[in-house]
């Protein structure tokens, strides 16, 4: 009898204990209260167009990811520190990437000039604890993005250097420009096509007129078309964008006019194939294989189609001159073409071919920019290695500045 009473007490303890997984029905202990977020701070989001307030706070000590019991934060907004508050957004737990102790979020739906107080509700264990910002915040738009000061200085310096040398060139100062083999070869390449009685193909890339490489390519087209007109060679310009077609027609027409052969020009010299990248490559490959042009120019922006085009041109023995500022495509052109304008040479082509002082002056200004970068690299290397200052941070552009 004594033994059975003891068993009953032990079983009762076991079932009533919290270890059994069930809370005691009338234990009288409230559930643990989640600890609140601290140091709530709200302020106008910097360098934006207004209507946004940044809220930052120190995370609740219960905001621990691996325990999985934290339910995140509710952000509430009110006109007074005593409320009433309305819910504006809910965010999960976890800290900022650069400072994990703190959490930051944006309220992008504020009225500029209105003062707001923010409350942060930490949620866990089915409980909520509120903390309220002490100071009000109001949003406003900014008239200068302070994150971009370094960029502004660079733009002003480079523009001033370019304008200075353009002014110098206009006053008759002699400017030296190094030889660019790819551009020197233009006359030879066009002459070869004339001698062979075959066509010249000019491919201005796959991008539209909003790409500066396409514009640079079309400036070279003007020169090539003029030489072709003088030599009475045939030129074909298959394009992949309607606006490039219209512009290229103007360029070729003007070149023929300047060469004194306006009657030799026809709109059919410049024609549209397709906007599709590989459709365009297939179309040009077909034309190249069937018509076997003696010379092919690739000048502009290219992507994966660069090698497909250049290798097909190479297979028919055409002399090929490429030029692009797409760094990833340059090795393909170098491998498959006779001459390649590397990056900046494409942009220098216009000045090089025309020898116009104002354009040459801009190249000289560009060189000054390059000198400044070389100096910055040397100085930066020394300072960075010495550990005195994080020199590289001067050149970083924050996400706010895209």
């Amino acid at each position: 009898m004594k033994h059975s009473r003891l068993s009953f007490i032990l079983i009762s303890i076991l079932f009533l204990s919290p270890l059994s997984g069930q809370p005691p029905p009338d234990s009288g202990n409230p559930p643990p209260l989640v600890r609140p977020a601290e140091e709530i701070r709200a302020f106008d989001t910097p360098n934006d167009a207004g209507n946004s307030i940044t809220i930052t706070w120190k995370r609740s000590p219960d905001d621990i990811a691996d325990q999985g019991r934290f339910d995140g934060y509710d952000i509430l907004r009110g006109r007074s520190p005593d409320g009433p508050f309305e819910l504006v957004l809910s965010v999960p737990g976890g800290g900022n990437e650069n400072n994990p102790l703190y959490k930051t979020c944006l309220d992008n739906n504020t009225e500029d000039g209105t003062e707001y107080y923010y409350a942060v509700d930490a949620k866990a264990f089915g409980t909520t604890t509120r903390a309220v910002s002490r100071m009000p915040a109001k949003s406003s738009q900014q008239w200068f993005n302070t994150d971009l000061v370094n960029m502004l200085i660079a733009v002003i310096f480079l523009s001033a250097a370019i304008l200075y040398y353009i002014a110098g060139a206009k006053s008759g100062k002699k400017l030296y420009i190094r030889k660019i083999a790819g551009l020197e070869a233009v006359d030879e390449a066009v002459g070869r096509a004339t001698e062979m009685g075959r066509k010249i193909f000019f491919v201005p890339g796959t991008q539209d007129m909003d790409n500066v490489q396409t514009i640079a390519g079309l400036t070279i087209l003007g020169r090539v078309a003029k030489v072709a007109a003088e030599y009475e060679a045939k030129i074909d310009v298959p394009v992949s964008r309607s606006l490039v077609m219209v512009t290229a027609r103007e360029v070729v027409k003007e070149a023929y006019y300047n060469a004194g052969r306006p009657d030799s020009y026809s709109d059919d010299m410049v024609y549209y194939l397709t906007d599709d990248q590989f459709g365009y490559a297939a179309g040009i490959d077909g034309l190249v294989v069937r018509q076997k042009p003696a010379t092919i120019f690739y000048q502009g922006a290219f992507y994966a189609e660069s090698l497909i085009l250049a290798e097909t041109g190479n297979s028919i023995g055409a002399i090929q001159i490429a030029g692009t500022a797409m760094a990833s495509q340059l090795p393909f052109f170098v491998a498959a073409c006779d001459y390649t304008l590397i990056g900046e040479e494409l942009f220098a082509a216009s000045a090089y071919l025309s020898h116009e002082p104002k354009l040459l002056g801009s190249l000289k200004g560009q060189d000054l920019g390059k000198l400044a970068i070389i100096l910055a690299l040397v100085v930066g290397l020394i300072i960075q290695l010495s550990g005195a200052y994080d020199f590289a941070s001067i050149f970083s552009v924050s996400a706010g500045g895209e």
Partner: protein, 217 residues
């Protein structure tokens, strides 16, 4: 005036876009998006110029019985089939929905053709590499060696062969070093030149010094 007006428009838009980059406040903050929208509208309208030109040039080839006229016929037939199926037999505005004849033509004809063109790249890379890596000069020899190490370092065999060497001499480490140090250094030098060239060209366009894209000298 034919050149002056486009030059004024280009210059004004260029200056406004530079200013808006530094000013977040309205109306500057959204100007970039506005101009991008305008360009997209002009671009979309201009597609008809291209399409009509394609039909004209191809039609002309067929009419004159040009040497390659069958290709021109294929272009016109393909173009018309896609346009007619898209406009009239694919549920109007829902023509892009899965299962419509237009979407099937896109998925089972157009996409495989595009993939086929892209796949050709593998063969062209092989033929171009063969030519580029022939050790005729000192530079080509360096290129060949670098390519050899990188290719071997990218496959398990590389580490298998060099597993007995110190860690930093494992082929995968050597390949990573080549890609991350000399390769990136060279690429950055090119990128800096490109960035400066872009700024210089843009400034010439904005100031109206560069006119060749308008058909000028």
């Amino acid at each position: 005036m034919k050149r002056e007006i486009p030059m004024i428009i280009a210059g004004t838009v260029g200056i406004v876009l530079i200013i808006q980059y530094f000013i977040p406040a309205e109306p500057f903050g959204t100007l970039n998006d506005v101009f991008s929208d305008w360009f997209s509208i002009i671009q979309a309208s201009a597609i008809w110029l291209g399409a009509l030109n394609l039909i004209k040039v191809s039609g002309d080839k067929i009419y004159r019985r040009h040497k390659d006229w069958p290709y021109a016929a294929i272009i016109i037939v393909s173009f018309l089939v896609m346009v007619i199926i898209g406009f009239f037999f694919s549920g109007g505005r829902r023509f892009l929905d899965p299962g419509t004849p237009f979407s099937q033509m896109y998925d089972y004809v157009y996409s495989p053709l595009t993939a086929m063109m892209f796949a050709l790249l593998a063969f062209f890379v092989a033929s171009a590499s063969y030519r580029a890596f022939r050790a005729r000069t000192r530079e080509a020899t360096v290129l060949l060696l670098a390519a050899f190490f990188v290719m071997l370092g990218r496959v398990p065999l590389g580490d298998m062969l060099t597993g007995w060497l110190p860690r930093w001499l494992h082929m995968s480490e050597v390949a990573s070093w080549i890609m991350n140090i000399p390769n990136i250094a060279g690429q950055r030098a090119i990128m800096i030149g490109i960035a400066l060239g872009t700024v210089s060209t843009s400034l010439r366009l904005i100031l109206g010094i560069e006119r060749s894209y308008l058909g000028g000298e």
